[in-house]
């Protein structure tokens, strides 16, 4: 079983900047999801608090909308490519991502 994720979000690598950090508790998220900032901004919503950086969503996104940061966490380099197929939703073992159309 995994260690509880320690948020070590500092990265020395160049171009990739972490923008979609979210620590909304899921209890809150259910009802308040729409008020979340990132949710409005991106077609794909990632709950980093639950994400375990397994890379599955990135690996199986059919369009390449998703990318992976050096620490393994997913992000959305190409929001425009998302076709809302929800593959990421279904394959994420941690209920930590949704590409559903809103």
């Amino acid at each position: 079983m995994p260690k509880k994720r320690n948020k070590i979000e500092k990265h020395k690598e160049g171009t990739i900047i972490l923008t979609d950090d979210s620590s909304i508790k899921m209890e809150v998220a259910i009802d308040d999801i729409k008020s979340g900032e990132d949710y409005e901004k991106s077609p794909v919503y990632i709950y980093h608090d639950w994400c375990k950086k397994c890379g599955i969503c990135v690996a199986f996104c059919p369009t390449g909308a998703l990318g992976r940061k050096p620490d393994g966490s997913p992000f959305v380099p190409h929001p425009e490519k998302c076709i809302h197929c929800e593959m990421c939703d279904r394959l994420c073992p941690d209920f930590a991502i949704t590409g559903a159309k809103r």
Binding site: M1, P2, K3, K4, N6, I8, K12, D71
Partner: protein
């Protein structure tokens, strides 16, 4: 720090499962065995065989002792805030705290010798992986405390770690040594 008289050191590595605490403990214990000390190494972890809060204890002495778990620590290593919060109370007054301040942000101890360093970040930076954090910390500990000789530590790493990973871990050990040398508590 070592004397020829009777000595007994209780060392606790604490953090969470998967951080290699037990490996660090075993290597330290083996190094002490090489030096013909009496050693016990124990650990606790979460349900069934993995995960959750975790700790590894090593007790090293040149005399007989009995209880195998550390109760009053001479050295406490904390790699998570949770571990720090839980165990810092049992550090001896003149004990040594080594904390990874990548995670341990809130340190309240005043009397003790406190060493804070971002071991995990350093591991990631210098070795491209979080895995050797434990050995960096261990190298640091050994050079700071001298609880075992560095030769024994090296030997223990060589003996215990699988061949293909020995190099990387020796590198990590040396990074730990260097960090100890260059440590300034204000950093």
């Amino acid at each position: 720090m070592m004397t020829k008289a009777i000595f007994k050191k209780e060392i606790r590595f604490s953090g969470s499962g998967g951080q290699g605490l037990i490996t660090a403990g075993i290597i330290l214990a083996r190094a002490a065995v090489i030096e013909k000390h009496r050693v016990t190494q124990t650990q606790t972890y979460g349900p069934e065989s993995r995960g959750g809060a975790s700790r590894a204890d090593v007790i090293i002495s040149n005399a007989e002792f009995y209880f195998p778990e550390a109760t009053r620590f001479d050295v406490l290593i904390t790699l998570t805030q949770e571990a720090y919060d839980r165990y810092s109370f049992n550090l001896k007054d003149n004990g040594i705290l080594i904390a990874d301040n990548t995670s341990v942000k809130n340190i309240t101890l005043l009397d003790s010798e406190v060493y804070e360093l971002p071991f995990a970040d350093i591991a990631q930076q210098k070795l491209g992986s979080l895995l050797p954090t434990n050995i960096i910390t261990l190298g640091f500990l050994v050079r700071i405390t001298g609880v075992v000789s560095e030769a024994s530590l090296k030997k223990a790493i060589r003996n215990f770690i699988r061949p293909q990973y020995v190099e990387m871990n020796l590198k990590a050990m040396k990074i730990g040594f260097k960090l100890a040398d260059g440590y300034e508590s204000d950093l």
